[in-house]
């Protein structure tokens, strides 16, 4: 099976700024792919390269096996859900959704039918006559989704689509996006700076920083086996410690130890509690173990040590992930 999107040594430089620098990855057909990174990491530029708003300075991009460099956005069978939705303010909801069919010359009756169908798909049946400006944020989001899906694109790009929504709505839309993606069997490419969102929704995640791709893999791979100090820290939080300190790997190498993998254990090593903060489901402890600062997340309980007290901690060697000397 041909990959949906392939990047081969793709760079996009703006003057001296290397927004995307020699990036390689493949997005498989039908998968939910997340591009994760802080702002300015190059993830959005990668999305815009797939959509065709940007052209690579070097390297090449294939979409379902066809070279895409130099192809303008309107000749790509790829659609985007924009961060601010970018609904046309001078059109109503139905006209917005039918726009893609209209410019491809689809007749009025057919495109109205398709638009209504797409609106029903995002549970907005009957909203066709409203102005885009009269909708709530979540509704605009759905219109933007319907407007893209109505074209039956080979790849759907989503640029931080949930960023502007409040927490409740965001969780609801996350589920809905997953449901739609499975039902339609489309390739979804999703840009986000929210690591939880990326981990919970995607089949595979690519982590970006400074215009380079740091790591690509399933959420579990990324979380359990971060390839670098950056990934370990950005995806969840992590204690990055010398490998031999953690009891694994060779001297000179670094290792990642997740805070939730540290437990209080009467048979463990002695540490000093520096801080203690109650977080509801967990309690966060700041610890000092022989001069090494560590963060631990433990279950709340009556017997937790006070700041200043000494306690004993331990972790399974299997949970320690050695990242190598360069990380």
């Amino acid at each position: 099976m041909t990959d949906a999107v392939s990047f081969r040594g793709v760079s996009r430089h703006f003057g001296s700024v290397r927004a995307v620098d020699a990036v390689d990855f493949d997005i498989r057909d039908g998968e939910f792919f997340a591009m994760l990174g802080p702002s300015g990491s190059g993830k959005t530029t990668c999305l815009r390269l797939i959509a065709g708003f940007e052209q690579p300075t070097a390297g090449h991009i294939e979409i379902y096996g066809t070279r895409a460099e130099g192809v303008p956005p309107y000749r790509r069978n790829v659609n985007t859900v924009f961060q601010n939705y970018a609904l046309f303010p001078h059109m109503n909801v139905r006209e917005n959704v039918a726009f893609g069919l209209r410019v491809k010359g689809v007749g009025k009756a057919e495109r109205t039918r398709a638009a209504e169908e797409a609106l029903a798909l995002v549970e907005l049946a009957g909203y066709g006559d409203r102005r885009a400006g009269a909708l709530s944020g979540g509704q605009r989001q759905r219109v933007a989704l319907a407007r893209a899906l109505v074209n039956k694109p080979k790849v759907l790009l989503l640029d931080e689509p949930l960023g502007a929504l409040d927490l409740k709505l965001r969780e609801q839309m996350q589920e809905e996006l997953r449901r739609l993606q499975r039902a339609l069997g489309l390739t979804f490419v999703f840009v986000t700076h929210d690591q939880e969102e990326a981990l919970s929704m995607a089949d595979r995640v690519a982590v970006f920083a400074d215009g380079k791709m740091q790591q690509v893999g399933t959420p579990e791979e990324i979380y359990r086996r971060p390839s670098s100090r950056f990934v370990a820290d950005f995806v969840g939080s992590s204690n990055v410690v010398p490998a031999d300190f953690a009891g694994a790997g060779q001297p000179g190498e670094w290792a990642s130890l997740r805070p939730e993998d540290i437990r209080l254990d009467a048979d463990g090593r002695e540490a000093t509690v520096l801080t203690r903060a109650y977080h509801g489901r967990v309690v966060k402890l700041g610890l000092d173990l022989g001069g090494q600062a560590l963060t631990a997340l433990v279950a709340p309980g009556d017997t937790l040590p006070e700041p200043g007290a000494r306690t004993r901690i331990a972790w399974d060697a299997a949970k320690v992930h050695v990242m190598g000397a360069g990380a």
Binding site: Y64, T66, G70, R75
Partner: protein, 313 residues
Amino acid sequence: MTSPAIFAPRSGVLARAADWAIRHPRMFVFLMVLPIVLWLGIVYIGALIALLMQSFFSIDEFSGVVQHEFTLKTYAELLRPSNFAIIARTVAMAAAVTLASAVLAFPMAYFAARYARGKWKALFYIGVMLPLWSSYLVKVYAWKLVLAKEGILTWIFAQLHLSWLLDAVLAIPVVGGNSLSVSYLGTFIVFVYIWLPYMIIPVQAALERVPAPLLEAASDLGATPKQSFRMVLLPLALPGIVAGSIFTFSLTLGDYIIPQIVGSGRLFIGQAVYTQQGTAGNIPLAAAFTVVPIVIMGVYLWGARKMGAFDAL
């Protein structure tokens, strides 16, 4: 899923041109700005430069023929007492007009930005835009009607039994005169009237951007109304005032019609340029005269840019 990932190019000249434009964004932008560069950059700037070059030529005093040789003689002529007086008079007038406009504009702009709502806001907008866009000549003409010796202003003063006040003002040497319509004071009033909207608009725009809580914060911190005006409002409105002053100053410097119609008959720079290039046929001196406002405005714009006035335009 049989549809292609990439559609075939569309046919037609326009579609192909659009494809080309997407692929060559730099060339496309270049083509978009090309007409303006040709029109303003070549024709207009070219004409300005040609004019400036003429100021380095001189006129033969006997034959009246322009001599195409580089000389600073024409600039030296500008410093002759009669010519220098014209420049000093114009700059003084421009400064006075700018100051008066700022003082008059501030309360109007402040009221419109802070207190006016709904109908009042619309009334203010139209009240400022109407005189701004009304015919310049008609406005000057209206003031000829207002200021005439037999006109409405004299009548109002008479009705209020204040004729003595008007006579006293007219008796002041230099600024006074036979009637307001043939005095410096009259010229000044008309200048202020004509350019006032150009001051109100940027000042109002600057004040609109001042968040109301800022003034509340100032009074919360113990500033008296006077202090919050001087220390908060004025500094924030200043870019707007500077932006407005670009217009009032520049427009007064270059105007030759107002002093010709309402005034004492003594020349301003604009009139000097007009007579030198017209009846006197001395293009080099006319060109040298135009350099004066260009230099003044150049310095002024440079200073205004430093104060961030362009953002308030």
